[in-house]
């Protein structure tokens, strides 16, 4: 009880050092046409764990903020805020995502560092006060499946129509975004192989690939 102040930082760095914090996201991305999404959902229902309860649905609003760390050549820091539109009482989520590393051909998935925490609904104000700028935002709605530690999302991306939420949303395209990801502590590269094998099972319905979206 009477532990000296400052141990929180110590224990955090100790946890980081011993690699127990799942701060690496291994993932692959792809898309499926609206016309075929039912087939994909059906297949995922068969392949994934939460069979009896059916897929979980989600309906989120994501805002991406950025803050400059230095003059232009240096990339800004990106922070994402996400809130569930279908569960307004849920905590909001603040997430840091690092630069994606594609690696060479032997590496089956993209890796990026990822940290997220639950926050109150005043996080947007907090970030704005810090000097973060809203870069872009979108509505994401779809289904989530689980397979062991893997998470599979099939979601539709909508553009925000200025100010008014969430009616009159305009879909980005005639496809659903498909993402297959795992959060794991750094150094657990075996999980990437699991992801690759699972992605194979979804072919030729969906081509899940390593895509570098930054350059």
């Amino acid at each position: 009880m009477a532990a000296p102040i400052g141990t929180a930082m110590d224990s955090l760095s100790a946890a980081l050092k011993s690699k127990i914090i799942p701060n690496q996201e291994y993932f692959l991305q792809g898309s499926i046409l609206d016309s075929a999404v039912e087939v994909l959902l059906h297949r995922l229902r068969g392949l994934c764990d939460n069979v009896d309860t059916g897929p979980e649905t989600f309906h989120d609003h994501e805002m991406c903020f950025s803050i400059r760390r230095g003059p232009p050549p240096e990339l800004p820091l990106f922070l994402r805020v996400r809130r569930a539109l279908d569960y307004p009482d849920m905590p909001w989520q603040l997430r840091y995502i690092g630069q994606p590393e594609l690696g060479d051909k032997s590496q089956p998935t993209v890796v990026r560092s990822s940290l997220d925490i639950a926050t109150s609904n005043t996080v947007v104000e907090f970030l704005t006060e810090l000097g973060c700028r809203l870069d872009f935002e979108y509505i994401i709605r779809g289904y989530m499946f689980r397979k062991g530690r893997m998470k599979v999302t099939v979601s539709k991306i909508f553009k925000m129509n200025q100010g008014k939420l969430p009616d009159g949303m305009e879909p980005m395209s005639q496809s659903y975004l498909v993402e297959l990801s795992v959060l794991a502590p750094s150094g657990q590269n075996a999980i990437a192989e699991d992801i690759r094998i699972f992605a194979e099972q979804l072919k030729p319905l969906v081509q899940l690939e390593k895509i570098n979206y930054i350059r």
């Binding site: 991305q29 792809g30 898309s31 499926i32 046409l33 016309s35 075929a36 087939v39 994909l40 805002m63 991406c64 232009p72 994606p100 609904n121 005043t122 947007v124 104000e125 704005t128 006060e129 000097g131 700028r133 809203l134 870069d135 872009f136 935002e137 979108y138 994401i140 991306i157 553009k159 925000m160 200025q162 100010g163 939420l165 980005m172 395209s173 005639q174 496809s175 975004l177 030729p204 319905l205 969906v206 081509q207 690939e209 895509i211 979206y213 930054i214 350059r215």
Partner: protein, 255 residues
């Protein structure tokens, strides 16, 4: 003479080995049927059949081999019959025969089929002999007809199945790589979502004021959040524009 004997010995050894193989697979099959009948499935059962038929083929191959001795020309001559229990015989036959006695030997050394089988064969043979040529011809034709019919059905089913699989192979594309890139760039980088950023910032700023800051002194927070926001707005547009330009120059996703 000695050479022939040697040949006979080796041939018999090979035949005995095959027969033992056959015996053990049959025993395994019987064991399965008796003990695992609850979990036994068809593929497994058919595998067993395949094993047995494989052993049978190899056995018949050995028997029909040029160098195989013609066993039909050889005789087994029982030299000594005894009603006493013979331990050695019991061991060799795995406990099946205990004595080499008069009542058993004729059965075991018999070269003709069982009397019952023999009788059946005889009745069939007389039946065949009594049939007229026309009648048998008719029956053969009828049998062929039935077989052909079944053959047709099987072929039709195969054709249907094949056309189905081929149509599945040529099924329409279910994903579009242009769409994939569009969505991934949008979510990861905001491409295509940033176009009216300035308006959006304002919109969200307002909505923060009205929707999200429930339970705070409205006027006060409004001014405090609007201040730095407005200050940034003067700077913001230039960086956004360069961002978009740079992005579209380097990676148009419709490459």
């Amino acid at each position: 003479m000695q050479r022939e004997e040697k040949q006979l010995d080796s041939a018999l050894e090979a035949i005995i080995m095959r027969v033992n193989d056959l015996k053990s697979t049959i025993a395994a099959m019987i064991f399965k049927v008796e003990h695992e009948y609850e979990t036994l499935n068809w593929p497994n059962f058919l595998d067993n059949f395949a094993l047995i038929s494989g052993h049978l083929t190899s056995l018949s191959k050995i028997l029909s081999h040029d160098k195989a001795p013609n066993l039909r020309n050889l005789t087994v001559l029982p030299l000594h019959l005894s009603p006493e229990k013979d331990e050695e015989l019991l061991r060799m036959t795995e406990g099946r025969i205990s004595t080499f006695a008069h009542d058993l030997v004729p059965d075991y050394l018999r070269t003709k089929p069982d009397p019952l089988v023999e009788q059946k064969m005889l009745t069939y043979e007389t039946k065949v002999a009594s049939l007229t040529y026309d009648a048998s011809h008719k029956q053969v034709a009828q049998y062929n007809k039935v077989i052909n019919h079944v053959w047709d059905i099987a072929n039709k089913a195969r054709e249907e199945w094949e056309s189905e699989t081929s149509s599945r192979a040529t099924q329409a594309q279910t994903s579009n790589s242009a769409d994939t890139h569009l969505l991934v760039y949008a979510v990861g980088n905001g491409k295509g979502l940033k176009s009216d950023t300035v308006q959006m910032v304002q919109g969200v700023g307002n909505s923060i004021g009205s929707n999200m800051m429930v339970g705070r002194a409205g006027g006060q927070s409004q001014t405090s959040s609007q201040g730095p926001l407005a200050g940034q707005m003067t700077k913001a547009p230039s960086t956004i524009k360069t961002n978009i330009k740079a992005a579209s120059q380097i990676h148009p996703y419709t490459r």
